[in-house]
């Protein structure tokens, strides 16, 4: 009960339930035997049901009401004292579910579940990434057209060019290639934010994927006269659950930085380590490094080190953000050590999972 002191009179403001009924969030309280003891109006509204039907029922009994299915599996699937998850009840109806144990005198007295309607935010988010996807797709045709016409000019298809003309055109060509890459990055970004990022997850050999990436970069390694080494473990690594295309993008992004920000003659290496639970990949360079004061921002969108911006204008600042998202979607971790003018070491892990089912339950949340 809620009371308020007013000129020596106690004013009644309402019972717990009255207040609960005026909340815009849905509220469910389960007692220590997991029986439902309180629901508010908003919950009745969310699940299109009357409280008379559901009060006194246990969590498992609620499963019989089809509307409650997704909520019940969410609540019974988690054992933690506190958790917060998004729950898609219907298309375009998404609740953020917070569940917390209530403790009285050190004893668990029940569970409080709060349902917060985030549908509008989710719809807006979806519209935003759809817009980015559409805009990026629309940019692809004109950037291809520019690439093609510049290449024809450079090939001399439309007449011989002077040295100066050629030089400028080559610069335009490179700039346009940067736009093409940026458009590609934006599409990856939009997909990450739509949350549908991993599509085809299969048991794969990460060593093979890395080897392919190295082979594709042979030319750069030779041109920059880099001292490159791929340190493979002596024993064959176990296969891991990967979305190969996506993991390739992540590794390419990290490796590309190592190559790009290394100076001629620098050392670059990739090494692999396996410790039963996960494979750790280490990509090291003795290049420009990241200034200490900017290291906390490395994985944020559009980050570029101030030292590299002076020498390299091509990066988009999205590579590591995308890599981090991809690696985390696989249930892995990414971190780094870096010192300005000494170089960087990026590490990431990929968990070793026996089956797809284990991958789904272990990795995604």
């Amino acid at each position: 009960m809620f009371w308020k002191k007013n000129n020596n009179n106690n004013l009644f403001l309402g019972s717990d339930l009255t207040i609960a009924n005026y909340l815009s969030d849905g509220l469910l309280v389960f007692d220590k035997n997991n029986k439902l003891v309180l629901v508010n109006l908003q919950t009745e509204e969310f699940f299109q049901t009357r409280k008379e039907k559901i009060l006194g029922k246990s969590i498992l009994e609620l499963n019989r009401f089809s509307n409650f299915g997704p909520l019940v599996s969410l609540l019974t699937g988690r054992t933690k004292e506190f958790f917060r998850r998004e729950l898609q009840v219907e298309e375009d109806f998404i609740l953020e579910v917070t569940s917390t144990s209530m403790i009285i005198n050190g004893e668990r007295s029940g569970t409080l579940v709060i349902l917060h309607n985030v549908s509008r935010e989710k719809i807006v988010e979806k519209m935003k990434s759809e817009f980015v996807t559409l805009a990026a797709h629309q940019l692809r045709t004109p950037t291809s057209a520019v690439k093609w016409s510049l290449q024809m000019l450079l090939d001399g298809d439309l007449g011989e060019l002077t040295k100066e003309q050629k030089k400028i055109l080559e610069k335009i060509y490179k700039t346009n290639d940067k736009v093409i890459r940026l458009v590609g990055d934006l599409l990856n970004l939009a997909q990450i934010e739509e949350g549908k990022f991993l599509s085809k997850v299969i048991l794969s050999d990460i060593e093979d994927i890395i080897q392919l990436i190295i082979n594709a970069n042979r030319k750069t390694i030779e041109e920059k006269k880099l001292n490159f080494e791929f340190k493979k473990p002596e024993d064959k690594l176990p296969k891991v659950m990967l979305d190969v295309e996506k993991m390739k993008i992540a590794i390419e992004n990290i490796f590309d930085n190592a190559l790009r920000y290394a100076f001629s003659g620098d050392k670059v290496s990739i090494s692999l380590k396996y410790n039963k639970k996960e494979i750790e990949i280490k990509i090291q360079d003795t290049g420009m490094g990241i200034p200490q004061n900017q290291q906390t921002k490395v994985f944020t969108k559009f980050f570029r080190g101030t030292n590299i911006m002076k020498v390299d204008t091509e990066g988009t600042g999205l590579g590591l953000y995308i890599a981090k998202n991809i690696i985390e979607a696989h249930g892995g971790r990414i971190w780094f050590e870096s010192e300005k003018d000494k170089g960087s070491i990026f590490y990431f892990t990929v968990p070793v999972k026996e089956s797809f089912a284990e991958f789904i339950t272990g990795g995604f949340y």
Binding site: R140, W148, K200
Partner: protein, 122 residues
């Protein structure tokens, strides 16, 4: 006799660029701006090869490819997909449906596209 290439592409500038390059290389060209006209041109002109865009107004490139492969009279004409769509799923789908090659526009220059065409025609 010069080999005949049909370009199915809705963007005028891209069509002109690739057409110009092909003419220079000594090919005959036929152009179509959408799927329906593309199918008609294949039947009327019997080209030696089709360059097919995927995102087209009306009937899209995948439907065009299906129609080509269903029609015994034209099914043997090689089709190279030339598209903006670079997702692995799209590439696999295109190749599975019978395209001989799949080129992503932004990753290839006109010269490289011609090289691919030459390989297929040989």
């Amino acid at each position: 006799m010069a080999k005949k290439i049909l370009i199915i592409e809705d963007d005028k500038f891209l069509r002109e660029l690739i057409g110009q390059k092909l003419l220079k290389e000594g090919y005959d060209i036929v152009e179509a701006v959408d799927g329906e006209k593309g199918i008609k041109s294949i039947k009327d002109e019997k080209p030696d090869l089709v360059l097919l865009d995927l995102i087209l107004p009306g009937m899209d490139g995948f439907e065009v490819l299906t129609k080509i492969k269903e029609d015994a009279g034209i099914a043997q004409i090689p089709v190279i997909i030339l598209s903006n769509l670079g997702q692995k799923d799209d590439i696999e789908k295109g190749l599975k449906m019978g395209a001989v090659d799949y080129l992503i526009k932004a990753h290839f220059t006109p010269g490289e596209i011609i090289d691919k065409i030459k390989v297929v025609l040989e």
